[in-house]
Assembly symmetry: D2
Homo-oligomer: 394 residues x 4
């Protein structure tokens, strides 16, 4: 189509992370498009800070932050009250999470547990036939210690836990599972697995092909395998909420909530959903953007399993399990200016904090589930009874 000369984005080959370089690019864009990026140019840090985070830097997106809280957490790593920064432009989101936090605060807080912790890279190995693939699987078991040693030469904090295997045809798909300290670990596990694979390729001459990623880590995708086998943190948040509180704070009742949940569980199952809850992605995304997480991981982290019980005394037990919560308190965007401040606000910046942060995310999510769930029930279900003046039996 267009035969005009392609005009690439200008770069300063000496040092591209300066106010000047950013300005040059903005001027170039103004020239090309007629649009000036005034607000985008209003950032409060030295561009040197974003080296390693972005290329062709021109400025920032300013995403509004609201504060919800206090969130009361009864975790193993997160204990006590937190004020949670949520970066979002969706009206009522902060208010809704805030309301849920008030409910759960009065109910005694949210109990949180990190059930598992594993980040993976998933190479696939291709052999002459299925038989060699099967033998290779056994060989991986026999040489696990060597493979682990090779992988761990590239990292101080990454530890190879195990190698899952899934066979099909002449392929052996694997998942190299690691703990990755306080980093999310996608890069760390990539390098470690590459090193492990090179060691493997030196030993085995019968591997016809290999790919570092055989689509079984499902990075930036939602998948059954990650929901079953965990990617990042598998975290549970749970609480028991007295019905009286649900009535006074939420203008709903545990019975209405429970009944609606039954109907929605079936709806979600039929719809083929990766999450039978309400909207965990809302809280997760807002927290991710505020704290420098990779928001593209919402693809994985939006999966959730909700399970509730209506107790005999009317109490409502509510749990949510996030099977693939990908978070970091070190590396990636966590050290950027505002992102670091938001992690610090939660007492979660830096080493040794990632499970604490994971617990806060899960507790936040639980509050949002109860809040939206109550709103739907209060406004709609009750509506059909009360406003329309009917008394329908169930």
């Amino acid at each position: 189509m267009s035969t005009t000369q392609r005009a690439p984005v200008p770069r300063d080959r000496e040092n591209d992370y300066t106010h000047e370089a950013a300005k040059t690019r903005r001027e170039f864009l103004a020239e090309q498009t007629g649009t000036s990026l005034e607000h985008v140019s209003s950032y409060s840090f030295d561009p040197d800070l974003v080296q390693g985070n972005v290329e062709h830097f021109v400025g920032v997106s300013q995403v509004p932050i609201g504060i919800a809280g206090p969130l009361l957490v009864d975790g193993e790593h997160a204990k006590g009250e937190f004020y949670v920064p949520l970066a979002t432009a969706e009206g009522t989101l902060v208010a809704s999470y805030n309301r849920g936090m008030r409910l759960l605060h009065e109910a005694g807080g949210v109990k949180t547990t990190v059930m598992d912790d594993r980040m993976q890279r998933a190479p696939v190995f291709i052999f002459a036939s299925a038989r060699e693939a099967r033998a290779f699987g056994e060989w991986l078991d026999e040489h696990f210690d060597d493979i682990k040693a090779a992988a761990e030469t590239t990292t101080r904090s990454g530890k190879l836990l195990d190698i899952e295997r899934y066979s099909a045809g002449r392929q052996l798909y694997t998942r190299f599972n690691y703990t990755t300290g306080d980093a999310a670990g996608q890069n760390m596990t990539g390098k470690a697995t590459q090193a492990a694979c090179h060691w493997i390729l030196e030993q085995r001459t019968d591997i016809e092909h290999y790919l570092l990623e055989g689509a079984f880590a499902t990075d930036k995708k939602s998948s059954q395998v990650n929901m079953l086998r965990t990617r990042g943190k598998r975290v549970v948040a749970e609480a028991v909420i007295p019905n009286a509180l649900i009535e006074s704070v939420m203008h709903a009742s545990s019975e209405l909530l429970f009944r609606a949940r039954q109907v929605n569980n079936l709806g979600g199952f039929m719809a083929g959903v990766n999450n039978n809850g309400s909207h965990s992605a809302n809280g997760i995304t807002a927290l991710f953007i505020a704290t420098g997480q990779d928001a593209a991981n919402v693809a994985e982290s939006s999966a959730a399993f909700t399970y509730v019980e209506l107790r005999e005394n009317g109490d409502y037990y509510y749990s949510i399990t996030i099977p693939a919560l990908i978070v970091a308190t070190y590396g990636g965007g966590t050290g950027l200016a505002t992102q670091r401040e938001c992690l610090e606000l939660l007492g979660c910046y830096g080493a040794g904090k990632v499970r604490k942060f994971a617990e806060i995310v899960a507790a936040t999510v639980l509050c949002g589930e109860l809040s939206l769930g109550s709103a739907v029930v209060a406004e709609e279900w009750v509506h059909s009874h009360d406003l329309l003046g009917r008394n329908r039996p169930s």
Copy 2:
């Protein structure tokens, strides 16, 4: 647990969207947590702007923006070259998309097509038994015009297209599908469907219960029903790339890419993935944050169908279909300071632009797929052949 007095986040009941109110909250947080939000407080707009976007406003998350491009698009709405703002903290992301845009520019650009466009709200209706639910389904058909009229009283741009139905037990799950103009439309369709439901509830006395959301819209979740039946825009981006370009620009080949895709298609299918491509969520999320989209919709918008062909002359046909791309050029966060500038940079701010924007997103995604795919192949597959000095037959 804690028995301390709960300290709620302070609000100014007169006007909470002022510099003062934000400052008061930051001071409160500093008192409570010892953390001061210096960078967060550095925003360049009047807080009045974020009314309707956030509650308990304290400042902003500054997310770095890099520019990739020019992206050459051969769409029905987007035509020509675009410089694409990507808000991200993931190093190499912008560079990778930029490289893919260079490849596709040289290949003549990306062809884009909006295949479908529908946003939904999904009420469920519960009857005495399945038989009444079935009859109600037929009644919906017979009264579609009235229902449509009731729904459209609440909106100028929303148009009710049809009502899908899914039955189970004594429930009838529905999907009220709308076009929503340039808004993403979740709120618009919520209000319209509520109005429609109230009209329905007035006519029918046999509805035992109803919920405005029966979990079939799968808002903020990934689902089969949305991948099949579309949520937001269903967009295809496609291109034919000569092998010579893949070799010169990407240091890979169409044959290697094709072979790797076969292996990854199977891997993804086994893994139960919502996307058999590479990493579309990366580009989508970065564009969403830059332009004021709701990044929580990455949960839905991360789904994708990739389909490729290795042509006889070595050309590589590559298509990606995004079945649930939720975008807006009006409403939500699109009018915020930096977000609006980024939309303007693309010529996509305001009315009549949403399909153009959807096409740009899809074209961007295609460039990223080819770039990462090539990188994996170039670095890994070739590596095993060349660096290790083996010449393995396939």
Copy 3:
């Protein structure tokens, strides 16, 4: 490997459906393998009967039939009591269904409803690009009457209902949905759709390729699309069972059943199952083999949605929805000797009976679900309480 001459199975080119031809083959097999098929040769009909049902006929598999019942059905087509023939070799299966039928008989019977009825063939059409595929989709709407006429030239009982469309890349996947009278209809819809496609191909010169089956009918496979959109009959069976009956007949309770169902619903959802119930495939398969249905369709027909309620008075509402029940009372194996007798036993042989039969299948399934569910609860859950002498709170 083997270089021996390939010895094909002998056929009689004049008439292969005779006792002689069958005997010749059995002798051939005895020669080749040393195995004589004594019992297999003991069939009670003229081999001429199986023409059109099997090739290289040698005899029969004798599958034991047990009778469960009376099954009390409150359907629209099936009304009253039925004695249900179940062909199976799995011990306790008949007894278990029989027990469930007793429970439901005492509870007043099973209410059944056929919610939908559609069999499909799913051609895919491939175009130069997505844009032509989209235009073709609109063209299908505009020419629906002509397409329907072309399809229906090949069949008296098949009626084309609509053409669903699913786009990806430059492909347009379709589902041609038909009602098919009393036949299951896979062949009928195949021929009709082929005729329709030939008419289409005559009109359109822009179709690069077409396949009569684009994998969207998912014949002999389980799929989300069939669970959502129906294949064959979508049938609901439901009942309300007083707790007293559950206690006296099943030695369980509605509360225990309900609680176990909650836990299993979550388990099934996590496991990625096509059926959140217990074992509907057992009853369906046994009925299918007895009555000459195609048991390979258990792949589709095993899908199910279970939904239960624990009512305030302790009653247990139980419904099961079978979204892809593929049945016939005409054609296929329904006219074979024993198969026809079993259909006659149910009053379901021949024209105008297929919905009656579908209702009986669904009612049977419901009985089996309650029976196995109760057994698990009675033996295990209670066991852990009573036998082990603990009184655990829930």
Copy 4:
């Protein structure tokens, strides 16, 4: 509804497995329904044989058996030529498999490999909160030897391999995986796991509830977890077929087949299918009915992963992986009269034969896939080119 006296099926309490008892029931049915079961009564064995296989025995379903073959297998357990008995009433099924067997015979046979072998029972344990569930998971590891010992007290051939764990909320879902010798093993693993659970319940007082089946074994259902983690045998069948053979035997070509497969892989992926192949359930079901397998397991066994390659010389590599093939050569229906003969025909009756049988099933399936795939391509794709006289470019 009906208030008539319920007339239960008559039983002989002394010995219900006699010609007399069967006849009494048939007479009862004739009285109740007016239908006489002449052909059903024509069975060739002593009813005593079906004790443990069926209750309320009245006779048999006579399912026609056709023979396909010779099937040439290059397995580790099955080696050489086999004549395969297929019990079916679907016309052309035997002919189609037979044709595929001819193709693969000429191509040198089907290579088969049993990749994994594990049958499971899946109890769920419920605790006060997620934290105790996590601790219990670790306890299972520490006490694996004791648990294994307890489980294996109930069986000679069952061996506990490992205990998989999947957590959600306060539940720990497990999968107790066993090898089960030549039996399918559902009952064996049920008893063994029950014994193991009783031992566990004696040790642990913190288990609030437990269910022997938490819906993670997905017996008689299709599921992602079984497709990923295997249920029964995971078997691969693969072959390389020269294009010349495909042309001469099938009137298709490797290129056409490959292209159609690409389109169908995408169709199946979008449709959310449990099998991206053609119709493996057809061959599996027919073999299951002939040989006394539990045909209800077609629900699980219908899952499959197809993977193909078009080699540079035009050869077509085709593999199919059946991840949950549930088969037995001992127990269940395998000892019945005709069923045993059919197993003997394959040299697969009795101890030590189950993997041989699994390989024969998988090889049969592969032949059917190529046959149907070729038919579709030959009749439809070529049709659109040749008959309609167009020469469309791809």
